[in-house]
Amino acid sequence: MKHRLSWFNVTSLTLGFAFLYLPMLILIIFSFNDSRLVTVWGGFSTRWYGALFQNQQFLDAAWVTLKVALFSSTLATVLGTMAAYVLVRAGRFPGRTLFSGMSYAPLVMPEVITGLSLLLLFIAIGLDRGVFTIVLAHTTFAMCYVSVVVSSRLMTFDRSLEEAALDLGCTPFDAFRSVTLPIIMPAVISGWLLAFTLSLDDLVIASFTSGPSSTTLPIKIFSAVRLGVSPEINALSTIVISIVAVGVITASLISKHTIARRQREEMEAGHG
Protein backbone atom coordinates (compact mmCIF):
# COMPACT_ATOMS: atom_id res chain seq x y z
CA MET A 1 0.00 0.00 0.00
CA LYS A 2 1.28 3.44 -0.91
CA HIS A 3 1.88 5.70 1.98
CA ARG A 4 0.72 9.22 1.64
CA LEU A 5 0.63 10.86 4.99
CA SER A 6 -0.56 14.30 5.80
CA TRP A 7 0.88 16.58 8.46
CA PHE A 8 -2.19 15.62 10.45
CA ASN A 9 -1.12 11.98 10.66
CA VAL A 10 2.45 12.81 11.59
CA THR A 11 1.42 15.31 14.27
CA SER A 12 -1.10 12.98 15.85
CA LEU A 13 1.41 10.14 15.83
CA THR A 14 4.08 12.26 17.49
CA LEU A 15 1.69 13.58 20.11
CA GLY A 16 0.31 10.10 20.75
CA PHE A 17 3.72 8.59 21.34
CA ALA A 18 4.78 11.56 23.46
CA PHE A 19 1.67 10.95 25.56
CA LEU A 20 2.64 7.27 25.95
CA TYR A 21 6.32 7.73 26.68
CA LEU A 22 6.98 11.13 28.28
CA PRO A 23 5.73 10.23 31.78
CA MET A 24 7.90 7.12 31.84
CA LEU A 25 10.89 9.09 30.62
CA ILE A 26 10.52 11.67 33.40
CA LEU A 27 10.15 8.85 35.92
CA ILE A 28 13.42 7.28 34.77
CA ILE A 29 15.29 10.60 34.87
CA PHE A 30 14.14 11.37 38.41
CA SER A 31 15.15 7.91 39.65
CA PHE A 32 18.76 9.13 39.31
CA ASN A 33 18.05 12.28 41.27
CA ASP A 34 20.11 12.80 44.41
CA SER A 35 17.44 14.86 46.17
CA ARG A 36 14.62 13.29 48.14
CA LEU A 37 12.30 15.96 46.73
CA VAL A 38 11.26 14.13 43.64
CA THR A 39 10.76 17.17 41.46
CA VAL A 40 13.85 19.22 42.27
CA TRP A 41 17.01 18.12 40.52
CA GLY A 42 19.81 17.66 43.04
CA GLY A 43 22.48 16.05 40.90
CA PHE A 44 23.06 12.53 39.56
CA SER A 45 23.07 9.65 42.01
CA THR A 46 22.22 5.98 42.20
CA ARG A 47 21.55 6.04 45.94
CA TRP A 48 17.87 5.09 45.57
CA TYR A 49 18.81 1.87 43.83
CA GLY A 50 21.01 1.02 46.80
CA ALA A 51 18.20 1.88 49.21
CA LEU A 52 15.81 -0.30 47.24
CA PHE A 53 18.02 -3.37 47.55
CA GLN A 54 18.36 -2.77 51.30
CA ASN A 55 14.59 -2.76 51.75
CA GLN A 56 13.77 -6.25 53.03
CA GLN A 57 9.99 -5.78 52.72
CA PHE A 58 10.28 -5.02 49.02
CA LEU A 59 12.62 -7.96 48.45
CA ASP A 60 10.24 -10.36 50.26
CA ALA A 61 7.28 -9.08 48.28
CA ALA A 62 9.26 -9.40 45.03
CA TRP A 63 10.03 -13.04 45.88
CA VAL A 64 6.35 -13.84 46.57
CA THR A 65 5.36 -12.12 43.30
CA LEU A 66 7.91 -14.12 41.33
CA LYS A 67 6.74 -17.41 42.85
CA VAL A 68 3.11 -16.65 42.07
CA ALA A 69 3.94 -15.55 38.53
CA LEU A 70 6.02 -18.66 37.76
CA PHE A 71 3.38 -21.12 38.96
CA SER A 72 0.32 -19.34 37.65
CA SER A 73 1.77 -18.63 34.21
CA THR A 74 2.87 -22.24 33.75
CA LEU A 75 -0.48 -23.61 34.86
CA ALA A 76 -2.31 -21.00 32.76
CA THR A 77 -0.26 -21.95 29.69
CA VAL A 78 -1.18 -25.64 29.98
CA LEU A 79 -4.87 -24.94 30.64
CA GLY A 80 -5.09 -22.07 28.13
CA THR A 81 -3.53 -24.17 25.36
CA MET A 82 -6.06 -26.90 26.08
CA ALA A 83 -8.87 -24.36 26.04
CA ALA A 84 -7.65 -22.97 22.71
CA TYR A 85 -7.47 -26.48 21.27
CA VAL A 86 -11.04 -27.14 22.43
CA LEU A 87 -12.27 -23.84 20.95
CA VAL A 88 -10.64 -24.34 17.56
CA ARG A 89 -10.49 -28.11 17.06
CA ALA A 90 -13.03 -29.93 19.22
CA GLY A 91 -16.01 -29.13 17.01
CA ARG A 92 -19.45 -29.08 18.54
CA PHE A 93 -20.16 -30.48 21.98
CA PRO A 94 -22.83 -29.79 24.58
CA GLY A 95 -21.88 -26.66 26.51
CA ARG A 96 -19.71 -25.19 23.78
CA THR A 97 -21.37 -21.77 23.91
CA LEU A 98 -20.90 -21.66 27.67
CA PHE A 99 -17.30 -22.75 27.24
CA SER A 100 -16.42 -20.04 24.75
CA GLY A 101 -18.30 -17.46 26.80
CA MET A 102 -16.33 -18.38 29.90
CA SER A 103 -13.07 -18.25 27.98
CA TYR A 104 -13.67 -14.69 26.74
CA ALA A 105 -15.51 -13.12 29.66
CA PRO A 106 -12.58 -12.85 32.09
CA LEU A 107 -10.72 -10.78 29.48
CA VAL A 108 -13.14 -7.90 29.88
CA MET A 109 -14.46 -8.55 33.38
CA PRO A 110 -13.62 -5.71 35.78
CA GLU A 111 -10.92 -6.97 38.12
CA VAL A 112 -12.85 -5.97 41.23
CA ILE A 113 -15.61 -8.44 40.33
CA THR A 114 -13.23 -11.30 39.50
CA GLY A 115 -11.27 -10.69 42.69
CA LEU A 116 -14.27 -10.39 44.96
CA SER A 117 -16.08 -13.44 43.60
CA LEU A 118 -12.97 -15.63 43.82
CA LEU A 119 -12.32 -14.50 47.37
CA LEU A 120 -15.88 -15.33 48.37
CA LEU A 121 -15.45 -18.77 46.80
CA PHE A 122 -12.23 -19.41 48.74
CA ILE A 123 -13.92 -18.39 51.97
CA ALA A 124 -17.02 -20.45 51.23
CA ILE A 125 -14.94 -23.61 50.77
CA GLY A 126 -12.72 -22.78 53.74
CA LEU A 127 -9.45 -22.32 51.83
CA ASP A 128 -6.92 -20.23 53.74
CA ARG A 129 -5.73 -17.26 51.76
CA GLY A 130 -2.07 -17.21 50.78
CA VAL A 131 0.26 -17.70 47.84
CA PHE A 132 -1.78 -20.68 46.67
CA THR A 133 -5.05 -18.75 46.35
CA ILE A 134 -3.33 -15.99 44.35
CA VAL A 135 -1.93 -18.67 42.03
CA LEU A 136 -5.44 -20.09 41.47
CA ALA A 137 -6.90 -16.63 40.81
CA HIS A 138 -4.13 -15.56 38.43
CA THR A 139 -4.29 -18.86 36.55
CA THR A 140 -8.00 -18.36 35.97
CA PHE A 141 -7.75 -15.01 34.27
CA ALA A 142 -4.36 -15.53 32.60
CA MET A 143 -5.45 -18.78 30.90
CA CYS A 144 -7.99 -16.79 28.91
CA TYR A 145 -5.23 -14.57 27.48
CA VAL A 146 -3.15 -17.66 26.65
CA SER A 147 -6.18 -19.20 24.99
CA VAL A 148 -6.69 -16.13 22.77
CA VAL A 149 -3.03 -16.05 21.69
CA VAL A 150 -2.81 -19.80 21.03
CA SER A 151 -6.17 -20.11 19.29
CA SER A 152 -5.28 -17.35 16.82
CA ARG A 153 -2.21 -19.42 15.85
CA LEU A 154 -4.23 -22.66 15.71
CA MET A 155 -6.74 -21.03 13.38
CA THR A 156 -4.12 -20.11 10.80
CA PHE A 157 -2.15 -23.32 10.50
CA ASP A 158 -2.60 -26.03 7.94
CA ARG A 159 -4.79 -28.77 9.35
CA SER A 160 -3.68 -31.30 6.76
CA LEU A 161 -0.38 -31.72 8.66
CA GLU A 162 -2.27 -33.10 11.63
CA GLU A 163 -4.39 -35.26 9.38
CA ALA A 164 -1.30 -36.66 7.69
CA ALA A 165 0.12 -37.67 11.07
CA LEU A 166 -3.17 -39.34 11.97
CA ASP A 167 -3.22 -41.20 8.64
CA LEU A 168 0.32 -42.42 9.31
CA GLY A 169 -0.88 -44.13 12.46
CA CYS A 170 -0.44 -41.51 15.17
CA THR A 171 -2.97 -41.35 17.98
CA PRO A 172 -4.51 -37.88 18.37
CA PHE A 173 -2.34 -37.27 21.43
CA ASP A 174 0.85 -38.23 19.57
CA ALA A 175 -0.18 -36.11 16.61
CA PHE A 176 -0.68 -33.18 18.93
CA ARG A 177 2.65 -33.70 20.64
CA SER A 178 4.81 -34.24 17.60
CA VAL A 179 3.06 -32.10 14.96
CA THR A 180 0.74 -29.48 16.43
CA LEU A 181 2.72 -28.50 19.51
CA PRO A 182 6.01 -27.70 17.72
CA ILE A 183 4.11 -25.54 15.22
CA ILE A 184 2.16 -23.56 17.80
CA MET A 185 5.14 -23.36 20.18
CA PRO A 186 5.94 -19.65 19.49
CA ALA A 187 2.35 -18.77 20.40
CA VAL A 188 2.50 -20.95 23.51
CA ILE A 189 5.70 -19.20 24.58
CA SER A 190 4.27 -15.73 24.02
CA GLY A 191 1.16 -16.84 25.90
CA TRP A 192 3.35 -17.87 28.82
CA LEU A 193 5.17 -14.52 28.76
CA LEU A 194 1.86 -12.67 28.67
CA ALA A 195 0.51 -14.70 31.59
CA PHE A 196 3.74 -14.12 33.51
CA THR A 197 3.60 -10.33 33.00
CA LEU A 198 -0.09 -10.13 33.84
CA SER A 199 0.56 -11.97 37.09
CA LEU A 200 3.55 -9.76 37.98
CA ASP A 201 1.47 -6.67 37.37
CA ASP A 202 -1.81 -7.51 39.02
CA LEU A 203 -2.85 -5.48 42.04
CA VAL A 204 -6.62 -5.79 42.39
CA ILE A 205 -7.11 -9.56 42.17
CA ALA A 206 -4.04 -10.20 44.33
CA SER A 207 -5.33 -7.77 46.99
CA PHE A 208 -8.57 -9.71 47.26
CA THR A 209 -7.07 -13.20 47.23
CA SER A 210 -3.86 -12.72 49.23
CA GLY A 211 -3.46 -13.47 52.89
CA PRO A 212 -1.55 -11.49 55.52
CA SER A 213 1.66 -13.44 54.90
CA SER A 214 1.60 -13.18 51.12
CA THR A 215 1.97 -9.54 50.14
CA THR A 216 2.92 -9.16 46.49
CA LEU A 217 5.05 -6.37 45.03
CA PRO A 218 2.13 -4.46 43.43
CA ILE A 219 0.30 -4.45 46.80
CA LYS A 220 3.45 -3.08 48.45
CA ILE A 221 3.95 -0.48 45.70
CA PHE A 222 0.32 0.61 45.88
CA SER A 223 0.45 1.25 49.61
CA ALA A 224 3.73 3.15 49.21
CA VAL A 225 2.43 5.22 46.28
CA ARG A 226 -0.76 6.15 48.12
CA LEU A 227 1.41 8.05 50.60
CA GLY A 228 3.04 10.03 47.81
CA VAL A 229 5.87 9.97 45.30
CA SER A 230 8.99 8.23 46.51
CA PRO A 231 12.39 8.02 44.80
CA GLU A 232 12.70 4.33 45.68
CA ILE A 233 9.60 3.56 43.66
CA ASN A 234 11.10 5.56 40.79
CA ALA A 235 14.18 3.35 40.97
CA LEU A 236 12.03 0.22 41.05
CA SER A 237 10.01 1.45 38.06
CA THR A 238 13.18 2.11 36.10
CA ILE A 239 14.37 -1.44 36.75
CA VAL A 240 11.00 -2.89 35.70
CA ILE A 241 10.80 -0.72 32.57
CA SER A 242 14.34 -1.67 31.48
CA ILE A 243 13.76 -5.40 32.01
CA VAL A 244 10.54 -5.25 30.03
CA ALA A 245 12.06 -3.16 27.24
CA VAL A 246 15.04 -5.50 26.86
CA GLY A 247 12.76 -8.56 27.01
CA VAL A 248 10.22 -7.35 24.47
CA ILE A 249 12.83 -6.08 22.02
CA THR A 250 14.83 -9.32 22.26
CA ALA A 251 11.69 -11.41 21.80
CA SER A 252 10.66 -9.45 18.73
CA LEU A 253 14.15 -9.68 17.22
CA ILE A 254 14.19 -13.46 17.81
CA SER A 255 10.75 -13.94 16.31
CA LYS A 256 11.66 -11.80 13.29
CA HIS A 257 14.82 -13.85 12.81
CA THR A 258 12.84 -17.11 13.03
CA ILE A 259 10.25 -15.90 10.54
CA ALA A 260 12.95 -14.75 8.13
CA ARG A 261 14.71 -18.11 8.41
CA ARG A 262 11.50 -20.03 7.84
CA GLN A 263 10.71 -17.96 4.78
CA ARG A 264 14.19 -18.54 3.40
CA GLU A 265 13.89 -22.28 4.00
CA GLU A 266 10.50 -22.38 2.34
CA MET A 267 11.90 -20.46 -0.64
CA GLU A 268 14.84 -22.87 -0.93
CA ALA A 269 12.55 -25.87 -0.60
CA GLY A 270 10.33 -24.39 -3.31
CA HIS A 271 13.24 -23.90 -5.72
CA GLY A 272 15.00 -27.15 -4.93
Partner: protein, 354 residues
Protein backbone atom coordinates in the same frame (compact mmCIF):
# COMPACT_ATOMS: atom_id res chain seq x y z
CA UNK B 1 11.97 -35.81 12.86
CA UNK B 2 9.78 -38.42 11.22
CA UNK B 3 11.48 -41.38 12.87
CA UNK B 4 10.84 -39.73 16.23
CA UNK B 5 7.09 -40.04 15.75
CA UNK B 6 6.00 -42.05 18.76
CA UNK B 7 4.02 -45.22 18.28
CA UNK B 8 1.09 -45.99 20.55
CA UNK B 9 3.16 -48.77 22.14
CA UNK B 10 5.54 -46.28 23.69
CA UNK B 11 2.65 -44.66 25.44
CA UNK B 12 2.90 -46.40 28.88
CA UNK B 13 6.55 -45.35 29.13
CA UNK B 14 5.80 -41.73 28.22
CA UNK B 15 2.85 -41.62 30.59
CA UNK B 16 4.88 -43.12 33.42
CA UNK B 17 7.67 -40.63 32.85
CA UNK B 18 5.25 -37.72 32.72
CA UNK B 19 3.47 -38.86 35.87
CA UNK B 20 6.82 -39.18 37.67
CA UNK B 21 8.02 -35.72 36.65
CA UNK B 22 4.59 -34.28 37.41
CA UNK B 23 4.54 -35.88 40.85
CA UNK B 24 8.00 -34.54 41.66
CA UNK B 25 7.06 -31.03 40.49
CA UNK B 26 3.80 -31.24 42.41
CA UNK B 27 5.53 -32.27 45.64
CA UNK B 28 8.00 -29.37 45.33
CA UNK B 29 5.17 -27.00 44.55
CA UNK B 30 3.18 -28.13 47.57
CA UNK B 31 6.18 -27.66 49.84
CA UNK B 32 7.08 -24.33 48.30
CA UNK B 33 3.63 -22.81 48.36
CA UNK B 34 3.02 -23.94 51.93
CA UNK B 35 -0.29 -25.64 51.21
CA UNK B 36 -2.37 -26.93 54.08
CA UNK B 37 -2.29 -30.77 54.06
CA UNK B 38 -6.01 -31.18 53.35
CA UNK B 39 -5.73 -29.03 50.22
CA UNK B 40 -2.66 -30.96 49.13
CA UNK B 41 -4.58 -34.21 49.60
CA UNK B 42 -7.55 -32.88 47.63
CA UNK B 43 -5.24 -31.76 44.82
CA UNK B 44 -3.41 -35.08 44.60
CA UNK B 45 -6.72 -36.97 44.58
CA UNK B 46 -7.98 -34.76 41.73
CA UNK B 47 -4.80 -35.25 39.72
CA UNK B 48 -4.83 -38.98 40.47
CA UNK B 49 -8.43 -39.39 39.34
CA UNK B 50 -7.72 -37.38 36.19
CA UNK B 51 -4.66 -39.51 35.33
CA UNK B 52 -6.56 -42.71 36.09
CA UNK B 53 -9.44 -41.65 33.86
CA UNK B 54 -6.93 -40.79 31.14
CA UNK B 55 -5.17 -44.16 31.42
CA UNK B 56 -8.48 -46.03 31.59
CA UNK B 57 -9.68 -44.16 28.51
CA UNK B 58 -6.49 -45.28 26.75
CA UNK B 59 -6.98 -48.93 27.62
CA UNK B 60 -10.67 -48.88 26.72
CA UNK B 61 -9.94 -46.98 23.52
CA UNK B 62 -12.07 -43.94 24.33
CA UNK B 63 -11.31 -40.73 22.57
CA UNK B 64 -9.01 -38.25 24.33
CA UNK B 65 -11.32 -35.52 23.17
CA UNK B 66 -13.42 -35.65 26.33
CA UNK B 67 -10.41 -35.34 28.61
CA UNK B 68 -9.16 -32.32 26.70
CA UNK B 69 -12.58 -30.70 26.94
CA UNK B 70 -13.22 -31.69 30.54
CA UNK B 71 -10.09 -30.22 32.14
CA UNK B 72 -10.39 -26.55 31.03
CA UNK B 73 -14.18 -26.74 31.27
CA UNK B 74 -13.93 -28.02 34.84
CA UNK B 75 -11.50 -25.24 35.73
CA UNK B 76 -13.77 -22.56 34.29
CA UNK B 77 -16.79 -23.98 36.08
CA UNK B 78 -15.08 -24.13 39.46
CA UNK B 79 -13.15 -20.85 39.34
CA UNK B 80 -15.30 -18.71 37.09
CA UNK B 81 -18.94 -19.78 37.17
CA UNK B 82 -19.29 -21.08 40.74
CA UNK B 83 -17.80 -17.86 42.24
CA UNK B 84 -20.65 -15.91 40.64
CA UNK B 85 -23.20 -18.11 42.35
CA UNK B 86 -21.39 -17.58 45.65
CA UNK B 87 -21.41 -13.82 44.93
CA UNK B 88 -25.13 -13.89 44.20
CA UNK B 89 -25.85 -15.95 47.30
CA UNK B 90 -23.97 -13.59 49.61
CA UNK B 91 -25.64 -10.54 48.05
CA UNK B 92 -28.95 -11.94 49.37
CA UNK B 93 -27.81 -12.20 52.97
CA UNK B 94 -27.22 -9.71 55.73
CA UNK B 95 -23.95 -8.49 57.25
CA UNK B 96 -23.43 -9.89 60.73
CA UNK B 97 -20.50 -9.89 63.12
CA UNK B 98 -19.27 -13.46 62.74
CA UNK B 99 -16.92 -15.57 60.69
CA UNK B 100 -17.76 -15.44 57.79
CA UNK B 101 -19.49 -12.05 58.23
CA UNK B 102 -22.81 -12.78 56.51
CA UNK B 103 -26.03 -14.43 57.58
CA UNK B 104 -27.27 -17.81 56.32
CA UNK B 105 -30.04 -17.89 53.72
CA UNK B 106 -32.33 -20.10 55.75
CA UNK B 107 -32.73 -21.23 59.30
CA UNK B 108 -34.26 -24.36 60.77
CA UNK B 109 -36.63 -23.51 63.58
CA UNK B 110 -36.83 -25.87 66.60
CA UNK B 111 -40.07 -27.36 65.28
CA UNK B 112 -38.32 -28.39 62.07
CA UNK B 113 -39.83 -25.78 59.77
CA UNK B 114 -37.50 -23.90 57.48
CA UNK B 115 -37.45 -20.14 57.62
CA UNK B 116 -36.17 -18.26 54.58
CA UNK B 117 -33.86 -15.39 55.55
CA UNK B 118 -32.72 -14.40 52.05
CA UNK B 119 -33.86 -10.98 50.98
CA UNK B 120 -33.33 -8.40 48.30
CA UNK B 121 -32.82 -5.62 50.82
CA UNK B 122 -29.20 -4.98 49.75
CA UNK B 123 -30.37 -4.27 46.20
CA UNK B 124 -33.09 -1.98 47.52
CA UNK B 125 -30.47 -0.21 49.61
CA UNK B 126 -28.11 0.28 46.65
CA UNK B 127 -30.77 1.52 44.27
CA UNK B 128 -32.28 3.81 46.92
CA UNK B 129 -29.03 5.40 48.03
CA UNK B 130 -27.89 8.27 45.82
CA UNK B 131 -24.21 7.49 46.53
CA UNK B 132 -24.39 4.20 44.63
CA UNK B 133 -26.60 5.52 41.84
CA UNK B 134 -24.23 8.44 41.27
CA UNK B 135 -21.23 6.12 41.37
CA UNK B 136 -22.71 3.90 38.63
CA UNK B 137 -23.67 6.90 36.51
CA UNK B 138 -20.36 8.68 36.88
CA UNK B 139 -18.42 5.45 36.16
CA UNK B 140 -20.40 5.09 32.98
CA UNK B 141 -19.73 8.70 32.05
CA UNK B 142 -16.00 8.46 32.78
CA UNK B 143 -15.74 5.20 30.82
CA UNK B 144 -17.68 6.62 27.86
CA UNK B 145 -15.73 9.89 27.63
CA UNK B 146 -12.41 8.04 28.00
CA UNK B 147 -13.42 5.62 25.25
CA UNK B 148 -14.19 8.51 22.88
CA UNK B 149 -10.84 10.17 23.62
CA UNK B 150 -8.97 6.87 23.25
CA UNK B 151 -10.65 6.42 19.86
CA UNK B 152 -9.79 9.97 18.73
CA UNK B 153 -6.15 9.57 19.75
CA UNK B 154 -5.79 5.90 18.83
CA UNK B 155 -7.34 5.90 15.36
CA UNK B 156 -4.79 8.19 13.67
CA UNK B 157 -1.95 6.22 15.26
CA UNK B 158 -3.38 2.87 14.11
CA UNK B 159 -3.98 4.38 10.65
CA UNK B 160 -0.42 5.66 10.39
CA UNK B 161 1.07 2.34 11.50
CA UNK B 162 -1.07 0.36 9.05
CA UNK B 163 0.08 2.68 6.24
CA UNK B 164 3.79 2.57 7.04
CA UNK B 165 6.12 0.09 5.49
CA UNK B 166 8.47 -2.42 7.04
CA UNK B 167 10.64 -2.13 9.07
CA UNK B 168 9.05 1.11 10.31
CA UNK B 169 5.75 -0.65 10.86
CA UNK B 170 7.21 -3.29 13.18
CA UNK B 171 9.08 -0.69 15.18
CA UNK B 172 5.98 1.48 15.64
CA UNK B 173 3.89 -1.54 16.56
CA UNK B 174 6.50 -2.55 19.10
CA UNK B 175 6.34 0.96 20.57
CA UNK B 176 2.58 0.60 21.03
CA UNK B 177 2.90 -2.84 22.63
CA UNK B 178 5.82 -1.97 24.90
CA UNK B 179 3.83 0.09 27.46
CA UNK B 180 1.28 -2.74 27.59
CA UNK B 181 3.97 -5.07 28.93
CA UNK B 182 5.21 -2.54 31.46
CA UNK B 183 3.63 -2.45 34.87
CA UNK B 184 0.28 -0.73 34.73
CA UNK B 185 0.57 0.44 38.32
CA UNK B 186 3.94 2.07 37.68
CA UNK B 187 2.66 3.81 34.55
CA UNK B 188 -0.21 5.32 36.52
CA UNK B 189 2.32 6.29 39.18
CA UNK B 190 4.39 8.06 36.52
CA UNK B 191 1.50 10.48 36.00
CA UNK B 192 1.54 11.53 39.65
CA UNK B 193 5.03 12.95 39.16
CA UNK B 194 3.72 14.71 36.07
CA UNK B 195 0.53 16.26 37.37
CA UNK B 196 1.41 17.08 40.99
CA UNK B 197 1.42 20.59 42.40
CA UNK B 198 5.23 20.53 42.31
CA UNK B 199 5.17 18.27 39.28
CA UNK B 200 6.87 18.54 35.90
CA UNK B 201 4.06 20.38 34.09
CA UNK B 202 3.61 23.02 36.78
CA UNK B 203 7.36 23.58 37.11
CA UNK B 204 7.68 23.97 33.36
CA UNK B 205 4.77 26.41 33.06
CA UNK B 206 5.95 28.46 36.07
CA UNK B 207 9.47 28.56 34.68
CA UNK B 208 8.20 29.70 31.30
CA UNK B 209 6.15 32.39 33.00
CA UNK B 210 2.86 31.17 31.52
CA UNK B 211 1.25 30.80 34.92
CA UNK B 212 1.91 32.45 38.26
CA UNK B 213 0.16 29.92 40.45
CA UNK B 214 0.58 26.16 40.13
CA UNK B 215 -2.42 24.53 38.45
CA UNK B 216 -4.40 21.96 40.41
CA UNK B 217 -4.34 18.87 38.22
CA UNK B 218 -4.04 15.96 40.61
CA UNK B 219 -7.16 14.63 42.32
CA UNK B 220 -9.43 16.04 39.65
CA UNK B 221 -11.72 14.21 37.22
CA UNK B 222 -9.38 15.39 34.43
CA UNK B 223 -6.51 13.39 35.91
CA UNK B 224 -8.71 10.27 35.97
CA UNK B 225 -9.58 10.73 32.28
CA UNK B 226 -5.91 11.17 31.40
CA UNK B 227 -4.98 8.06 33.38
CA UNK B 228 -7.64 5.87 31.79
CA UNK B 229 -6.96 7.01 28.23
CA UNK B 230 -3.23 6.59 28.79
CA UNK B 231 -3.58 3.09 30.24
CA UNK B 232 -6.05 1.69 27.74
CA UNK B 233 -4.77 3.38 24.56
CA UNK B 234 -2.94 0.25 23.30
CA UNK B 235 -6.21 -1.73 23.62
CA UNK B 236 -7.80 0.75 21.21
CA UNK B 237 -4.89 0.95 18.77
CA UNK B 238 -4.23 -2.78 18.30
CA UNK B 239 -7.70 -3.96 17.14
CA UNK B 240 -8.08 -0.96 14.82
CA UNK B 241 -4.62 -1.59 13.42
CA UNK B 242 -5.38 -5.23 12.72
CA UNK B 243 -8.63 -4.26 10.95
CA UNK B 244 -6.86 -1.61 8.82
CA UNK B 245 -3.93 -3.88 8.06
CA UNK B 246 -6.19 -6.49 6.47
CA UNK B 247 -7.74 -3.88 4.17
CA UNK B 248 -7.00 -4.04 0.49
CA UNK B 249 -5.24 -0.81 -0.54
CA UNK B 250 -6.57 -0.98 -4.08
CA UNK B 251 -10.07 -0.20 -2.75
CA UNK B 252 -8.94 3.32 -1.86
CA UNK B 253 -7.28 3.72 -5.23
CA UNK B 254 -10.46 2.58 -6.93
CA UNK B 255 -12.51 5.08 -4.91
CA UNK B 256 -10.12 7.88 -5.83
CA UNK B 257 -10.09 6.86 -9.48
CA UNK B 258 -13.87 7.08 -9.39
CA UNK B 259 -13.63 10.68 -8.28
CA UNK B 260 -13.68 10.54 -4.49
CA UNK B 261 -11.63 13.08 -2.63
CA UNK B 262 -9.15 11.64 -0.12
CA UNK B 263 -11.40 12.57 2.76
CA UNK B 264 -14.52 11.08 1.27
CA UNK B 265 -12.59 7.96 0.23
CA UNK B 266 -11.62 7.62 3.87
CA UNK B 267 -15.20 8.06 5.07
CA UNK B 268 -16.76 5.81 2.46
CA UNK B 269 -14.17 3.03 2.31
CA UNK B 270 -11.56 2.95 5.08
CA UNK B 271 -13.74 3.90 8.02
CA UNK B 272 -16.54 1.36 7.40
CA UNK B 273 -13.97 -1.40 6.83
CA UNK B 274 -12.27 -0.64 10.13
CA UNK B 275 -15.54 -0.77 12.06
CA UNK B 276 -15.02 -4.24 13.58
CA UNK B 277 -11.71 -2.99 14.99
CA UNK B 278 -13.34 0.17 16.34
CA UNK B 279 -16.09 -1.83 18.04
CA UNK B 280 -13.61 -4.27 19.58
CA UNK B 281 -11.38 -1.42 20.74
CA UNK B 282 -14.28 0.46 22.32
CA UNK B 283 -15.38 -2.61 24.28
CA UNK B 284 -11.84 -3.32 25.41
CA UNK B 285 -11.57 0.23 26.77
CA UNK B 286 -15.11 0.82 28.05
CA UNK B 287 -15.69 -2.35 30.08
CA UNK B 288 -12.51 -2.42 32.17
CA UNK B 289 -12.63 1.38 32.57
CA UNK B 290 -16.11 1.10 34.05
CA UNK B 291 -14.88 -1.03 36.97
CA UNK B 292 -11.52 0.72 37.30
CA UNK B 293 -10.19 1.02 40.83
CA UNK B 294 -6.48 1.87 40.71
CA UNK B 295 -6.68 4.98 38.52
CA UNK B 296 -9.45 6.83 40.41
CA UNK B 297 -7.88 6.00 43.76
CA UNK B 298 -4.40 7.21 42.77
CA UNK B 299 -5.14 10.12 40.42
CA UNK B 300 -8.67 11.09 41.43
CA UNK B 301 -9.67 12.88 44.57
CA UNK B 302 -12.42 12.19 47.05
CA UNK B 303 -14.98 13.82 44.75
CA UNK B 304 -14.25 11.33 41.95
CA UNK B 305 -16.90 8.72 42.45
CA UNK B 306 -16.38 5.43 40.64
CA UNK B 307 -18.10 2.16 41.35
CA UNK B 308 -14.91 0.10 41.47
CA UNK B 309 -13.63 2.32 44.26
CA UNK B 310 -16.98 2.19 46.10
CA UNK B 311 -16.97 -1.62 45.94
CA UNK B 312 -13.40 -1.77 47.21
CA UNK B 313 -14.16 0.51 50.15
CA UNK B 314 -17.40 -1.30 50.95
CA UNK B 315 -15.44 -4.53 51.16
CA UNK B 316 -12.12 -3.53 52.73
CA UNK B 317 -13.07 -0.51 54.86
CA UNK B 318 -16.73 -1.11 55.81
CA UNK B 319 -16.38 -4.91 55.75
CA UNK B 320 -19.94 -5.14 54.51
CA UNK B 321 -19.61 -8.19 52.27
CA UNK B 322 -23.29 -8.55 51.32
CA UNK B 323 -23.54 -4.93 50.10
CA UNK B 324 -20.20 -5.25 48.26
CA UNK B 325 -21.54 -8.41 46.57
CA UNK B 326 -24.76 -6.68 45.59
CA UNK B 327 -22.74 -3.76 44.12
CA UNK B 328 -20.73 -6.28 42.11
CA UNK B 329 -23.84 -8.11 40.88
CA UNK B 330 -25.45 -4.86 39.66
CA UNK B 331 -22.20 -3.84 37.91
CA UNK B 332 -22.05 -7.27 36.35
CA UNK B 333 -25.60 -6.97 35.04
CA UNK B 334 -24.79 -3.54 33.57
CA UNK B 335 -21.85 -5.10 31.74
CA UNK B 336 -23.31 -8.45 30.69
CA UNK B 337 -25.17 -6.87 27.79
CA UNK B 338 -22.03 -5.32 26.23
CA UNK B 339 -20.07 -8.54 26.85
CA UNK B 340 -22.67 -10.63 25.05
CA UNK B 341 -22.61 -8.16 22.15
CA UNK B 342 -18.82 -8.31 22.11
CA UNK B 343 -18.90 -12.09 22.02
CA UNK B 344 -21.34 -12.06 19.10
CA UNK B 345 -19.12 -9.61 17.26
CA UNK B 346 -16.08 -11.79 17.91
CA UNK B 347 -17.85 -14.87 16.60
CA UNK B 348 -19.03 -13.05 13.49
CA UNK B 349 -15.47 -11.92 12.84
CA UNK B 350 -14.20 -15.45 13.27
CA UNK B 351 -16.78 -16.81 10.88
CA UNK B 352 -15.99 -14.06 8.38
CA UNK B 353 -12.30 -14.92 8.68
CA UNK B 354 -12.80 -18.55 7.72
Amino acid sequence: MSDALPTPRRFPLTAGLMAGVGGLLGATAVGWLGLPPNVALLLSITVGVALLAFALGRVMGWSDRWMVIAIPLGWFLVFFLVPFFVLGRISLSEAIIARPPYSPLWDTAPDGSIEILASLQNYGFILGESLYRNAYLSSMQVAAVSTVFALLIGYPIAYYIARSEEPKRSILLLMVILPFWTSFLLRVYAWIGFLRREGVINNLLLWAGIIDEPLVMMQTPGAVYVGIVYTYLPFMILPIYSALEKMDGSLIEAAEDLGCSRLSAFWLVTFPLSRPGIIAGCFLVFIPAMGEFVIPSLLGGSQTLMIGKVLWEEFFSNRDWPVASAVAVVLLLLLVVPIVLFQRNQQRQQEAGK
